[in-house]
């Protein structure tokens, strides 16, 4: 796909990107290409490692109770 003017072009990598190197060129109809300066109107960045909200106490207690129940069920089933 060749981006059209007004397109938002993005790069996504959940493992993280330290540097993006990017340039633009125009593909000529005769098979050659012509370099072209990259023009940016707006640049937006999403950073890695944003603080993740801690799970609620109710969730932790519920998970623990579920685990205890699972172990209990497993033992009853085996006996």
């Amino acid at each position: 796909m060749t981006p059209q003017p007004g397109t938002v072009v993005g790069w996504l990598d959940n493992s993280g990107i330290d540097e993006l190197h990017v340039g633009t060129f125009v593909d000529m109809s005769n098979g050659s290409w012509r370099d072209n300066g990259l023009a940016i109107s707006t640049l937006n960045v999403d950073l890695k490692g944003r603080a993740v909200p801690a799970p609620s106490t109710a969730f932790l207690v519920g998970t623990a109770l579920f685990g205890i129940g699972l172990v209990y069920w497993w033992r009853v089933r085996r006996s």
Binding site: W11, H21, V22, D27, G37, L38, S41
Partner: protein, 141 residues
């Protein structure tokens, strides 16, 4: 059977999903939360050397000295990052690509560029991404 389940759980916990850099199109396709934004409102008047340009804790730089220009005769202060001319003076595309990185070393997971080059019907991109100074992705489209 129990060992199998345990091993599966360990694999799921121990190995985060491998990922490669992918190109996306459209607002929000790569940046779900905007942590930093450069609008270039102070460009291009007065013109500055984009080889050292930084804004909003983002380095947006040309590989060689290149003065900011008004894209295709646009008005001053229209908020564009645009180096006069094309690539730099080096031999390969790789050496000539512009650089986008954070100025404080924070790692990015999503980058989006809005380009609005009115004078061109279409523009091709060539790009490379790096992590820990190692090439992790490259392509042209």
């Amino acid at each position: 059977m129990n060992r199998l389940i345990l091993n599966l759980l360990l694999v799921l916990v121990a190995s985060p999903a491998a990922a490669n850099t992918v190109v996306t199109f459209g607002p929000g396709s790569a940046v779900s939360t905007i942590d930093r934004t450069a609008t270039f409102d102070s460009l291009p008047d007065p013109a500055v050397d984009l080889a050292t340009y930084s804004e909003a804790l983002l380095n947006i730089r040309t590989p060689a000295s290149a003065i900011s220009d008004w894209p295709f005769g646009g008005p001053a202060g229209s908020g564009w990052w645009y180096p006069r001319g094309g690539f730099g003076l080096y031999d390969s595309w790789s050496q000539n690509l512009d650089l986008i990185e954070t100025s404080d070393g924070k790692r990015m997971i999503g980058i989006e560029i809005l380009f609005t080059v009115g004078a061109l019907a279409e523009t091709n991109f060539v790009w490379e991404t790096y992590r820990n100074s190692k090439l992790i992705g490259s392509a042209s489209f």
